[in-house]
Symmetry: C2
Subunit: 400 residues, 2 copies
Amino acid sequence: MATVEELKLRVRELENELIKCKQKQCAMEDALHRPKIDKMSAEVVDSNPYSRLMALKRMGVVEDYEKIRTFTVAVVGVGGVGSVTAEMLTRCGIGKLLLFDYDKVELANMNRLFFQPHQAGLSKVEAAELTLRNINPDVLFETHNYNITTMENFTHFMDRISHGGLEEGSPVDLVLSCVDNFEARMAINTACNELGQIWMESGVSENAVSGHIQLIIPGETACFACAPPLVVAANIDEKTLKREGVCAASLPTTMGVVAGLLVQNVLKYLLKFGSVSYYLGYNAMQDFFPTMAMKANPQCNDRHCRRQQEEYNKKEAQRPKVEVVEVEEDVVHEDNEWGIELVSETTDADLQAASGTMPDLPEGITVAYTIPAAQDTTNGETVEETEQSLEDLMAQMRKL
Amino acid sequence: MATVEELKLRVRELENELIKCKQKQCAMEDALHRPKIDKMSAEVVDSNPYSRLMALKRMGVVEDYEKIRTFTVAVVGVGGVGSVTAEMLTRCGIGKLLLFDYDKVELANMNRLFFQPHQAGLSKVEAAELTLRNINPDVLFETHNYNITTMENFTHFMDRISHGGLEEGSPVDLVLSCVDNFEARMAINTACNELGQIWMESGVSENAVSGHIQLIIPGETACFACAPPLVVAANIDEKTLKREGVCAASLPTTMGVVAGLLVQNVLKYLLKFGSVSYYLGYNAMQDFFPTMAMKANPQCNDRHCRRQQEEYNKKEAQRPKVEVVEVEEDVVHEDNEWGIELVSETTDADLQAASGTMPDLPEGITVAYTIPAAQDTTNGETVEETEQSLEDLMAQMRKL
């Protein structure tokens, strides 16, 4: 039988051990957080997380880097491209990030950057927010764990795009599409056309060796409904693929490159340096990077797109003509019935040279990008991204 | 005064609390680890971290993806490019990684991907190994926390490159240079020329808006001493910069893109798919990607390079001539005294169009890449990467 003295000793021992255990836990938690920083400093000390970014001013690349803190960006889709996109923006010190995704982290995602095995089972937006907040507590985060394509969520999504800016009530500055299916891209397109919201599209092919980014300015450049989508990932949802026991391939390299090119163009757009690409492709097999630009289509199916075009044309017409003559800037290209003008910076020979061989695919998977038929979006024809000219695509569309 | 009963109750309470605390700690530690996987599976289940990589076989992109586990890659420099490079290779399931760096993680590194604030103070190789091992415990890691340019370390570095393969005693399959200074690049070049070790170079300019990767096959393509280095980061070490209160700019975007392009070419080289780029540049201001190839220089200063060239030429001469005539494949280009042949896939107009404006820089910092003078490497002339043709560079060299 224990004496009072022995028991007292044991209490003291246990108390000490418990204190040590709690201290270690606190240290583990503390270690995950750095204090917030009020004002970006250019001071060159090891402890300043912004010194290398502020150096862009001294280097003459960016005029006012601090302005990054005034911007809000919405990232739709926090997968292989979206998560890295969000991390890059977070490390650059963006003001606010809105993250939208309804998926969970799985071990099957570990072949791409960002998520870690211990996050398996968490929702992607929840896991991302935790990691990103630790990386940079100066950024504001707003996450939405839902599918934007359902009616109710779509309304909420529209509301957050138009009111979720840094100053509540103001719109976001840019929407980034990092989704992996046609419906979600179309939902973003519809929302941005209605709101006149500038956005950037991104995508990676299902064989993992090509990708693209695209800038969409409603009314000015071709929207997603304007053009036969050169750039839509095949319209088969993840669940169907899983049920069939097949899945799309993916690589951390291709997704990292696409995210890097996307965020680089976001920085150029927001901070006004360099030139922003309208469309930039990445063919990993050949290290080939096609670029082009497409004007909006006056016959676009989306009425909000047509409305935005009218507004844009009105504004353009009102602009005082300072220069000699703006050469045919607003003239609709008459060569094809869609009125789309393709301004390719690469030659046909380049495009030909860059088109890879067509892999032999299992049923239900298409290589790169599909042209969905007008009504039936589940049965699109497959087109290798850089293999066909716009003329070819038009000919195909006519046949449908 | 406490009774025996009270003390006993307190002991039980404390014991329970301590158990809970320890359980939570164990859970936190357990969560960081997934079990090792013996054999890569293509099974499409959420718990398989390799399903999306093995899908590359079904997609017809890679013939034998599992072969990735037989390769060893050495990454020299675990900074903005090297850390992401190591992470991509780890997530791709590479067999073994050797990491070399002598720097510590600082908050000032947080504007690039990979390292997190709580790792500040740890050595880069130590922090990287911990993170990478959690991401993929199937990869073998060997880390060296030293500067490869000192005599003793250089000898050890040579030894590990030639004996640190997956099967101890065998050489590594590829060396990747992800360093940020001229001396370290030259050390890697010297080692690889002596060993006949194929390697890839990478670099990012000090204004953060351009970068490149380059494949170097000793004896066959131009080594680092063969050509006026078009692609060397300015020869000013980090410490000097810090002392002067200035630092180079860097961006997670540019470094992520360069790492992505680098590892994509590593995968193409090791797994034999697509075509590997000899030199691929990235101009972020214009989204322009120049490519070229350079042959080894018979007058190279490095005697091991000249020896490798002799061996290569002997082997080439012995190869049975199957095809009609190999058009001038081994003929030394006579137009310049360095015997370097530049095979540019971009036009002069493209190059001209891609050259950005020269920023106004503080003393001690140069924009992109320097040509070190033969003896005095501290006073190189600055050349914008894509602004000058090889002819111009040759003319400059002649003047020196």
